[in-house]
């Protein structure tokens, strides 16, 4: 209905009296610039994580332990204390950090290649130990950083560079549903899966992250948040179709919900 001449000026804050509802970046991000691909879900999830930390007034006690994946590129701009771990090892590193820093809010940030492939035993053992940390999984079902290879959470049928006709259960096996696996362990206090494929789910993701962090602050034990994120580059789908693909392809196997809340 509107024509080209209706385009509004949006290159500066409005000149009329207005309340700023939300700034470009969360307070705990040092800069908006990063090298992640167009349509990537990871910065969206990290925004929610940093906002949750800020809202819980934990900015000055949070220590992140970061895995290796695309999101590692964000360590230059995340403004909480950080420890860079090796691929898969973040839950163990976070264990040592938390034990020596019991009042810290210690979280890990890992991808599915990092957590569900390379470091599967680390997250399972830390969960079983009831380690009072929060592990955050950014699950896009693919090794994004290497250019789109199958991980242990790639869903059947999903195309990756080494399952070019789609993951075939007979040949490549079935994906690991890590949240379901961790929820079974008596050491876990909070387990939930969410996704950033639309605005309301993104807001819900922050709500879940707050609950997980609160679980740790209350000393209840291991908390776990799996966030499904878009990787159109690694999925070989058009960038704008990323959210739909996430919701309908990955989300139909890695089902959203709170699996455990104690």
């Amino acid at each position: 209905m509107s024509s080209g001449s209706d385009i509004l000026q949006t290159d500066a804050p409005p000149s009329q009296p207005a309340e700023k509802l939300c700034a470009f970046k969360p307070d705990l991000l040092l800069s908006e610039d990063h090298h992640l691909c167009p349509g990537c879900g990871e910065p969206i999830a990290v925004r929610m994580m940093l906002e949750a930390i800020k809202e819980l007034e934990c900015s000055r006690r949070a220590v992140g332990v970061i895995g290796i994946g695309c999101y590692t590129a964000l360590t230059g701009i995340i403004d909480t204390d950080l420890v860079q771990a090796l691929h898969g090892r973040a839950p163990s590193v976070a264990t040592g950090t938390k034990r020596m820093l019991p009042n810290g809010l210690v979280y890990t940030l890992q991808g599915d290649g990092d957590m569900v492939n390379e470091g599967l035993q680390e997250v399972i053992h830390s969960a079983a130990r009831g380690e009072n940390i929060t592990c955050i999984l950014l699950n896009n079902g693919v090794f994004g950083e290497t250019g789109g290879h199958m991980t242990a959470s790639t869903v059947v049928g999903q195309r990756t560079k080494n399952t070019i006709d789609g993951r075939d259960a007979k040949e490549h096996g079935q994906p690991i549903l890590i949240s379901e696996m961790l929820a079974q362990l008596s050491g876990t206090a909070y387990v939930a899966r969410c996704g950033v494929f639309n605005a309301s789910q993104t807001v819900h993701t922050k709500r879940i992250l707050r609950k997980a962090f609160q679980t740790q602050l209350d000393g209840k034990g291991f908390s776990f948040v799996e966030i499904l994120t878009m990787c159109p580059t690694g999925w070989f789908v058009p960038v704008p179709e990323g959210p739909d693909y996430l919701e309908n392809v990955l989300g139909s196997v890695h089902k959203l919900g709170e699996l455990k809340c104690e």
């Binding site: 209905m1 509107s2 024509s3 001449s5 209706d6 385009i7 509004l8 949006t10 290159d11 500066a12 804050p13 409005p14 009329q16 009296p17 207005a18 309340e19 700023k20 509802l21 939300c22 700034a23 470009f24 970046k25 991000l29 908006e32 610039d33 990063h34 992640l36 691909c37 167009p38 349509g39 990537c40 879900g41 990871e42 910065p43 969206i44 925004r47 950033v196 639309n198 605005a199 993104t202 807001v203 878009m230 159109p232 960038v239 704008p240 990323g242 959210p243």
Partner: protein, 82 residues
Amino acid sequence: MTQIKSRGTVNIATERCKGCELCIPVCKPEVLRMSTNRNKLGMRYPELLPGCTGCTACLLMCPDFCFEVYRYQEPILHEVDV
């Protein structure tokens, strides 16, 4: 001519935009659309039409932190061609 009300608006850092278009379908009032021009990165970027509600959905879905969202104290009225 008709009047459209904008209760909110956005400040868009178009030069940072990587053109992913994730903001377009999440905009409930459908007042974002992609430009025909390209920025320095060679990407098309979102442009705002009258009718923004200041819901922040675009900001929530933007991986590149390109949106700042405002709510007007008094809604702004735009005269547009139908």
